[in-house]
């Protein structure tokens, strides 16, 4: 069943088009991440769904009801903000109950909901404290609690973890995932952090310039990016890109020829087409001894140990090429090494449009 439906939504601030005829369909219980660089419109889209921003055109449905003109409180959503937005002079309990009291809910119902939220989020000992006396992680939990007590079907998260340090972020990430498993609500989550997106999402919408570039599962987005932007944005360290052209069913650049016979494509591109060939560092093997469809002997320029893995920088023709290897197999600078990969794992984009071939 469709939980949230964004239909042809556009948003203009003056002459600036922030969202361009956006369409998004979210199923009941799905965890959707809106991912993109800053200024791509992801937070704007979330604010439109919440009703905090008026759309310029289009419609928004939540649970089958057209809520385009509804106030945020009537849309059946709860929202968690980046800056937590806790009411500073109220206790945690006051923060959780303020909206409910205002909606004139019976007292025992309010108490019940707060107790439940406090239990789920394990903030019972904090209920009488004020936000100033809480740590960042605790504040974030209270902010989630405020959405939780509203007893709604759709949760909206606006970069909820970006004010926290890396360790806490990883912890709360797991907790949010656990929360989703437990509640099975629809969640729409905005972030610019691709790790958060990959780990949390059922589906990711990668956005850029007010347009959704690709809306698919994390696996699909990682393995089969639809265009150069998505390919470059997802993955860390980033994908290697080689510019060249098609020659007799192979990719050719600076005397390097990579056979494309194993590359899955609907229509093989014609010879002479200018293309960009992309391969992730983790998909290139180093000194594996195996028989790869493509292999070459190259010299190691720089090595970057990153803990468990290391990044080995070499050159393929004039292009820099990064290879990711386990640190124990890290070569030294200046070594000649054998690299190899299977073009099946690569991505091929036409150079003019940047679209996947």
């Amino acid at each position: 069943m469709t939980s949230v439906l964004v239909k042809d939504v556009s948003l203009n601030f003056g002459t600036v088009e922030v969202l361009k005829k956006m369409n998004l369909e979210v199923q009941q219980g799905e965890f959707i991440v809106l991912l993109g660089p800053s200024g791509c419109g992801k937070s704007t889209l979330l604010n439109c769904i919440a009703g905090l921003l008026d759309v310029s055109a289009g419609q928004i449905f939540i649970n089958g009801k057209n809520v385009t003109w509804e106030e945020p409180k009537d849309r059946g959503i709860g929202m968690v903000f980046q800056s937590y937005a806790l009411y500073p002079q109220m206790t945690v309990e006051g923060n959780l109950s303020f909206g409910l009291k205002n909606a004139r809910l019976p007292r025992d119902e309010i108490a019940k909901r707060i107790a439940r939220a406090a239990e789920i989020l394990q903030i019972q000992p904090l209920l009488q404290r004020k936000p100033a006396a809480l740590s960042g992680g605790q504040r974030q939990r209270v902010a989630i609690g405020r959405a939780l007590v509203r007893d709604v079907d759709v949760f909206l998260f606006d970069e909820p973890l970006s004010n926290l340090d890396a360790k806490l972020r990883a912890e709360l990430r797991v907790e949010i995932k656990r929360l989703h498993n437990q509640l099975a609500n629809t969640m729409i989550y905005v972030t610019h952090d691709q790790i958060e997106a990959m780990t949390l999402a059922d589906r990711i919408a990668v956005m850029r310039g007010g347009v959704i570039q690709q809306f698919a599962s994390p696996k699909e987005i990682y393995n089969r990016p639809v265009n150069l932007f998505v390919a470059g944005f997802i993955g860390s360290p980033g994908m290697n890109f080689l510019d060249g052209e098609i020659a007799d069913g192979s990719f050719a650049t600076d005397g390097v020829r990579i056979p494309l016979s194993r590359y899955e494509t609907a229509a093989p591109p014609a010879s002479g087409t200018k293309v960009t060939f992309g391969i992730r560092p983790e998909h290139v093997a180093l000194n594996s001894g195996a028989d790869w469809p493509f292999s070459a002997r190259v010299k190691v320029d720089v090595v970057e140990p990153m803990g468990s893995d290391s990044l080995v920088w070499t050159k393929l023709g004039r292009h820099n090429l990064a290879v990711r290897v386990p640190t124990e197999r890290m070569p030294s600078t200046g070594d000649m090494v054998e690299i190899g990969f299977d073009p099946m794992r690569a991505s091929l984009f036409d150079a003019a449009e940047g679209l996947r071939l």
Binding site: D54, V55, A57, Q59, T68, W69
Partner: protein, 311 residues
């Protein structure tokens, strides 16, 4: 907004109901109750704030007979600039009848050096406080800031004595010193906060490069603090131009600044009251700060937000 939606729901005809299916921005009426309240209140207050300016201008352009028989709010039937000329060049204070022009030039001669000296000193103070924290500097700064709240009346007489000892009591030099002293707290605070916000690395890099106190001040800090100089200048020019108390205490009638002279012209008990000349004189005195205000716009706001301490 609510009734629009209610009407849609109430429609029996599904086709019509379908037509008003919510889409795009929420329907808003320009004359919603909310807008009427907001703009109505603001307009009402605008009348309160603008009325005196309007009346000043209108009165100053009327002849006396028209003032006597008309009402203050009526625009002038016959525009005359006579009151302005008279206010500027022949209005009398006591026995002197050479108009406000003398006060104007006195004010200029007071304001220009006061502004320059007070800003220079305050900026050096702020720089020393922000970047060269020497022992005890903060104590002096705290005294300075607390001093900004001490009523001037407490310090007026001791300053009279100091100026008299220096031999500058009653001169423009004396008044310039007084303005420099009383402009110091707010402007020092302003500059200190500004210089403190300059990345410290810049200052450290200059020191590593061997620049000293004055070299860093003139070569690095000054060039990058133009905006704060402008803000400080706005505070000082308007503050000094508008001063009355120091003018009346520390100068003699022939060196009275414009505000003091204006008050003497308008509130003099001799002769027939010429309201049009009075209002022209008042406008003339208010003109300098008004012009600064309208030109500087946002910077003025920044100045008072930062310099509200002056009170």
């Amino acid at each position: 907004m609510a009734d629009v939606r209610a009407a849609a729901v109430g429609q029996a005809d599904p086709v019509v109901a379908g037509l008003v299916e919510p889409s795009g921005p929420r329907p808003r009426r320009a004359l919603s109750r909310r807008n009427i309240v907001i703009y109505g209140t603001l307009l009402l207050f605008s009348v309160y704030y603008l009325m005196p300016l309007y009346v000043m201008i209108v009165t100053s352009l009327k002849g006396m007979p028209e003032i006597r028989f008309g009402n203050v709010f009526a625009p002038p039937v016959e525009i005359t600039f006579e009151p302005w000329v008279k206010a500027w060049s022949t209005a009398c204070t006591g026995l002197n009848c050479d108009g406000l022009s003398r006060g104007f030039w006195n004010s200029v001669r007071i304001t220009v050096p006061s502004v320059i000296i007070s800003i220079l000193i305050a900026s050096v103070n702020g720089y020393a406080l922000a970047n060269w924290r020497f022992k005890g500097a903060n104590i002096f700064f705290t005294i300075l800031i607390v001093g900004a709240f001490i009523p001037y009346q407490v310090m007026i007489y001791p300053i009279v004595i100091i100026l008299r000892e220096m031999g500058v009591y009653g001169t423009l030099t004396g008044l310039v010193i007084v303005h420099t002293i009383f402009g110091m707290p707010i402007n020092t605070l302003l500059f200190r906060n500004y210089f403190a916000s300059v990345p410290e690395e810049l200052f450290k890099a200059a020191r590593v490069d061997g620049a000293g106190f004055w070299a860093i001040y003139f070569r690095i800090m000054l060039p990058m603090s133009l905006p704060i100089f402008v803000v400080s200048m706005i505070i000082q020019v308007t503050g000094i131009w508008n001063d009355f108390l120091f003018g009346v205490v520390y100068t003699r009638p022939e060196t009275y600044p414009m505000t003091v002279q204006l008050n003497n012209i308008v509130n003099s008990v001799q002769g027939v009251k010429e309201y049009n000349v009075n209002m022209a004189a008042t406008l003339l005195t208010g003109l300098v700060p008004l012009v600064i205000y309208f030109i500087s716009g946002k910077l003025f706001v920044r100045g008072i937000a930062a310099g509200a301490v002056k009170g």
